[in-house]
Amino acid sequence: MLAPAKAGRKPAAVRSEPAAETTAEAKESHVDPAQTILAIVRTLAGLEQRLQSGRSVTATSCPFSELLEKANQQLAEARQTIWAMGGLAMEGLNDDERPIFDELAGIGEPVYIPGDGQANTVKPEIHPGALVQTDHGTVAVVVSRIDNAIILRAIGNDDQNEHGEHFTWGIDQTYAAPIEGGKGGAL
């Protein structure tokens, strides 16, 4: 069930200086790396919290308790490592580092919000914790998944037009984006 381990590690290299200022177009095509890090850290923290809750309801003599505790420690270390990457992201990224963060964000094609006249389906393989970006530029995190839709919560860059007028997709608002023909809409 598990994927085979990587044959070898690539040697770490000294990080070079961030590339010179990128074009406005290039900037728009990427999600803020700090938001990506934050989304992954939140996902890991959520998993940790559930493990911690599970551990708290089991007696210390229960075999589950030790297993959950160990798994929780590993997740905490993974979260701390990812969190440390946030510092690197804040320094600015080299051009060859940006695709890494895009991959981490889970961004493929933009998610189009239902009702705005655009195509509005989401790939079914999208997973909770992934970041998506709407056609208006809103960055949202996939909160959960229901039968034929994923639940998105906007976390940044709420939509606004060139006059500064806001669309209906505000920060912390949630939407159900349909998967494969399901129905979506504001929650």
């Binding site: 069930m1 598990l2 994927a3 990587k6 590690r9 690539k10 040697p11 770490a12 290299a13 990080r15 992954i40 996902t43 890991l44 959520g46 998993l47 559930r50 493990l51 809750s53 599970g54 708290s56 309801v57 089991t58 007696a59 003599s61 229960c62 075999p63 589950f64 297993l67 959950l68 160990k70 798994a71 929780n72 590993q74 997740l75 270390e77 993974a78 490592t81 990812i82 440390a84 990457m85 690197l88 080299n94 060859d96 580092e97 695709p99 890494i100 963060f101 991959e103 981490l104 889970g106 997973h127 909770p128 914790g129 992934a130």
Partner: protein, 98 residues
């Protein structure tokens, strides 16, 4: 005349397995990023995080098997992990505990 069917309750085994699936998704997500990463500090950090998630998964697998065995063999002695505890555990891991 249609017969109304009641959906089967979600078992603890299914919940633990689903939790493991979420860890696998996170592990694979990090692995994909590692695969495209250049030889930078970011790649090293990512690799470390992926290893930790993998280890967490390895710690959890026995719990999956244990949960399954207790549910498929109800007559198994549960002196140290009573059904009530397993139920609370199921709820907690599912993310519904408040």
């Amino acid at each position: 005349m249609k017969t109304k069917t009641t959906p089967a309750p979600v078992t603890g085994f299914q919940v633990v397995l689903a939790f493991a699936d979420e860890l696998i998704a996170m592990r694979d997500r990090l692995a994909k990023a590692v695969d495209i990463g250049p030889t930078t500090m970011i790649d090293d950090e990512l690799h470390g995080a992926m290893d930790k998630v993998e280890q967490a998964l390895n710690e959890l697998w026995p719990a999956v098997g244990f949960m399954r065995s207790t549910e498929s063999h109800p007559t198994l002695s549960l002196s140290r992990n009573e059904p009530e505890t397993l139920e609370r555990l199921r709820v907690a891991l599912k993310g519904g505990a408040k």
